[in-house]
């Protein structure tokens, strides 16, 4: 078990070193995918490795000249990785229209490093499942993306291969959910850094391999019992595109936070919804996108309110409070934020907000406030 965890850890600590070595050994194509809504299954079915872009742990050097100070650190880091040639091992980059930063990235890459192969997919941001116009458009977009990938790899992406990819992905999602259920039933069984590394590894490595490792890891974990402690069970929310910094996770846990569940993209959001395997494959991918019961601040969703979803999740996890990580300059998250506060208060759910940017993360500034918050939660005040 420790071997598997340490493998996941090493992948998540040095994602680009690992991917580059993987390519050298396996001689297969790698497609970098921008978070959060791309159906990776199509890339997988093309015989390529889809790798979700991760925030680099290295200092940003080159992209400060391209971005004004008021854009998010994740987009800056992504461009920096590309400009510093760190991602040159990749065959291309896929930029779904998650937010305006992807649009700008597409442009900046075209000007600054025009030889990078780009794919774009317009995933309509309005999740109005009842309006066929948007479903039809996303279906067409996925068909177009598939055709472009086919032209790139030089062979057809058959329905059979797509079905297989969907199965592999569904299996991975189910395994990750099993891990999360386990964490809810046994708080403190596994620390949040380890959980993060498991999810990050799943975003990077071939899903088949990840599935194999998870099948070995889970039974071992299930046998384990958590060490009894005096911590506070917390649900961690926010951080739209990027993983919460490991330093911040360690810091929170050192103060007594026990992350019992999360509402993070590099977390539960990534694997919460399955594809319907009985549908034709592209339809199934479209269905997964529109029928999700997981609202997300980057999408307009008239059918389900994000704050209601978060409250449900907190209650199901028996968390005593929520820590919301707001990535500096993440505009969609800002719009969701007031409603979260409005709804969490009357629901009696204590919440704590951390505005953060990995480049300038100051833990000392958070300490006193977080300690006071944890005391308040413990005291039931």
């Amino acid at each position: 078990m420790e071997d598997i965890l340490s493998e996941f850890m090493s992948i998540s600590e040095e994602p680009y070193v690992w991917l580059s070595k993987w390519k050298e050994v396996n001689k297969k194509g790698i497609m970098l995918c921008y978070p959060m809504h791309l159906p990776e299954e199509i890339v997988h079915a093309a015989g390529l490795l889809p790798a979700i872009i991760q925030r680099s742990h290295e200092r940003i050097l080159l992209s400060h000249n391209c971005f004004q100070a008021f854009y998010c650190d994740f987009s800056r880091s992504t461009l920096d990785l590309i400009l510093r040639d760190v991602t040159d091992f990749a065959d291309g980059v896929v930029l779904p229209d998650t937010c305006y930063v992807n649009r700008g990235l597409a442009h900046m890459i075209q000007v600054e490093k025009p030889d990078v192969l780009q794919f774009d997919v317009h995933m309509v941001p309005m999740l109005e499942a009842k309006r066929p116009i948007y479903r039809d458009w996303v279906f067409q977009e996925l068909e177009r993306f598939k055709a472009k990938l086919e032209a790139f790899v030089g062979h057809e992406i058959t329905d059979e291969s797509l079905r297989n990819s969907i199965q592999v992905y569904n299996e991975n999602r189910a395994l990750l959910r099993r891990l999360y259920d386990l964490r809810i039933s046994k708080p403190g069984l596994i620390n949040s850094k380890e959980v993060l590394s498991i999810v990050v590894a799943s975003m990077l490595m071939p899903k088949e391999e990840h599935n194999g490792l998870m099948k070995k890891l889970l039974p071992e974990l299930e046998k384990r019992e958590p060490v009894a402690g005096n911590g506070v069970n917390i649900l961690l929310s926010g951080a739209m595109c990027e993983a919460v910094s490991v330093d911040l996770l360690d810091f929170m846990e050192s103060l007594g936070v026990v992350v019992v569940d999360d509402d993070l993209y590099v977390g539960s959001r990534y694997f919460a919804v399955d594809c319907d395997e009985t549908l034709p494959p592209l339809e199934s991918l479209v269905g997964r996108y529109f029928n999700r019961n997981i609202p997300d601040p980057t999408k307009y969703n008239p059918d389900k309110e994000y704050s209601d979803y978060l409250i449900d999740r907190v209650r199901k996890a028996n968390a005593r409070g929520v820590i919301i990580v707001l990535v500096l300059h993440c505009e969609p998250h800002w719009y969701a934020h007031p409603k979260l506060k409005d709804k969490l208060d009357p629901a009696g759910i204590p919440h704590f907000h951390i505005e953060t940017e990995q480049e300038s993360l100051s833990l000392a500034r958070i300490r006193t406030r977080l300690e006071a918050f944890l005391e308040m939660v413990k005291g039931g005040r």
Partner: protein, 419 residues
Amino acid sequence: MRKFKQNRLQTPKKIKGMTDHFYQDLLDAPAHGKKVAWCIGPVPFTPLRAMGIPFVHLENYGARIAARGAGGFLQKVAEDWGLSKDACSYMRGAQGMSLCYAQDVQMPPEIEKYRLPKPDMVICINYCISATNIAEIFYRELKVPVHTIDWPYQMAKDDDRKRFVPYMKRNIEEYIGFLEEQTGRKMDYAELSALVGRLREMATLRGEVLDMAKNVPSPITTFDAFISMGAGNIWSGTQESIEYFKELKAEVEERVKNKVGAIENEKTRLMWDFIAVWARVGYMGELFASHNAAVIANAYSRLVMGMTPEFLDPENPVESLAKDLSYAFLFGNIKERIKWMKEVIEEFSIDGIIGHSARTCRVVSMAQPVHLAEVERLTGVPYVMFEADHSDPDFYSPAQVDTRIIAFLEMLEARKRKG
């Protein structure tokens, strides 16, 4: 003290009256039993006009309250509610207004005159993530029907535009269907055609007027163009908008004939990239004029309604509106943007570029350092960037911005002197 003189055009002075008239009609509309629409983003307004639905373009409203010094109160209401001050200042102002209804926030008398009527419907075009975000807030807080229109972004692929047209056509058709459903009336397509015809005429006139800035000295500045935007935006498709631009054209033509410049003793000619600083239009006009610098070209003031007049065909109004959105490069296609800037630099004899990075308008400020540097590389024309905001005056720091701009203008002057 430098001596300078701005020759102010007379026609743009009419805009204040036109806008006041527009907003008063809007405010009176509910008393006349009319349903009111709030529009987020450049929603095509001609279908609303054709159906007699009074509307507000919330970005125009944001510019209006900023220009009249009334934005701060409403933005603060939204900030007190919890919205970050770094969120789009247009949307903060609009959310402040919506909270006056959703949470009965009282407006002081000096702000009361900028009240908007409560919407009966909201229409949102997906041009920025803040637009769809605020649409969801309105949907939940104001509990009104919201209709969304998608607008796929041109990720600078050459085949994008053609691909978008049928999809945008379907979007416009559904938008019309929504208006019909809300009003219980059918669209008057003959009226829509007439409106599209007038939109084309207005947009063509607007282009002709703005192109006259190629003359040396330039008879018109970008600040006149900014002020004139309202006529081409909220008044789009009306005879009033045509009359406005006809009058402006005649006034500017007269100047060309008499070789009268908008800035006396014009020494340098500049391009503005991109969005206006609405709370400081007059102030900035003076700042540049005081250094005999004429800001004469920008894309923003051309790119409101009727972005591509060549595609507007009254015989096919719905397809025309679909093409107008599909072919606009306002929010996409960096290659087109760079090409356009290069051409303008040559045709308008531009000496330098002023880049306004709007802190809370990330969608239009995105990639600005990259495209400005690229344009400089291709043309040799230098640029300066400053950070301010389109609608929040708190983000304008005169000490920093003015000094930077003045230093740039002095550098350009020195360059010119050296030849």
